[in-house]
Symmetry: C2
Subunit: 212 residues, 2 copies
């Protein structure tokens, strides 16, 4: 058991080291030697856990998605109204993107399609399904106007969020990310909430903090 | 003169060949040999024009941005109301993304930040400035509500568009890109046009064709 726990700890350390190197150098220029050094393991120990850079990248993406989705589950367990949950989920992933190297690298690897033979699609589908479900519930709650198509809304919000974080990373090293996520909702809310509820719901953008 | 024209034609062919290879293999896996083959020039001729893969990638991005921005200038010269121009610009770049390999590769290289020592930021700034100016004019025209902050709106639309095209490329090989751009505007319009003008302006999303 102690040996298993040690193996798991080594594996986690390698994933964290790989994330740091992928985020700093990009996938193309990242080397196994750099990743071993960043993880404080030997190349031999690294190869015991991962066969290739490709496998490491997929492990980083998987761990990021688990981290982000389990933080999302915590938000959903609070049982808030669905529209509030949508904003809190955006804030939750935003905070992870500002603070957690595994999340930073996982999202970057996911959006840099050319690194892989096949593009990474599962995380997008998970978030699209979650947001489509939340949009439906928000319509039932009366917080999103019945004229809004929940599939269309989810299929705009997830790509829009993807772009907001990418451009914030590119132009500002993510320094303005939470502010930009909040602005995304300031722009969106007037068009999706029922007109008569806008005054009472417009404050929801304040759920997204200005800083992590 | 004939020699100069020939050199320019060779340069253009190399940029087009590089775009095809970058788009097919990604920047990391693209080789100078593949690019020379795709351009039907010798490696010697290629090195006469471009010193490195990095220089080729920057040339593809520059040519893409010129192509996209000059198509944008053609839209602006039509002298349509500013809000219409915003939608037509999105449609124009969308059509290029579906049909032109140089535009496909240029946008992909721009969004795959890790390929370069410094991220590509100028194209974003050009589009942000153009859309902020158009949003201001649309407010003057009465087509965007005065409560909308034009800088905030532009700084959401450009990242959102970036994400919409990226996710369409990832999940659908861009087959649904124009439809997704249209849906982006269907979601946005109710929140940004003055309430009393929504009925007469909601048809604007039809400016974006379903297919290129």
């Amino acid at each position: 058991m102690a040996q298993q726990a040690r193996a798991q700890a080594t594996r986690d350390a390698i994933i964290r080291g790989a994330a740091t190197v992928f985020e700093r150098n990009g996938y193309g220029l990242a080397s196994i030697a750099d990743i071993a050094a960043a993880s404080s393991v030997t190349k031999g120990a690294l190869y015991f856990h991962f066969q290739s850079k490709d496998e490491l990248a997929h492990a980083v993406i998987q761990q990021q998605h688990e981290l982000s989705f389990s933080a999302g589950a915590t938000v959903l367990e609070q049982g808030r109204p669905a529209l509030e949950s949508m904003l809190l989920l955006c804030a939750s992933l935003g905070r992870q993107l500002v603070t957690d190297p595994v999340v930073q690298a996982g999202i970057r690897l996911t959006t840099e399609v050319s690194n892989f033979e096949r593009p990474i699609t599962d995380p997008y589908r998970d978030w699209l399904n979650m947001f489509e479900d939340l949009a439906r519930r928000a319509i039932e709650d009366g917080d999103i106007a019945p004229a809004v198509d929940p599939e269309m809304l989810a299929h705009f919000i997830i790509p829009a969020y993807t772009g907001v974080q990418l451009v914030s990373a590119t132009l500002a090293g993510r320094a303005d990310l939470l502010q930009r996520i909040r602005e995304m909702w300031i722009v969106l809310l007037p068009g999706i909430v029922p007109a008569e509820r806008y005054e009472s719901l417009k404050g929801l953008s304040g759920l997204i903090p200005a800083a992590a």
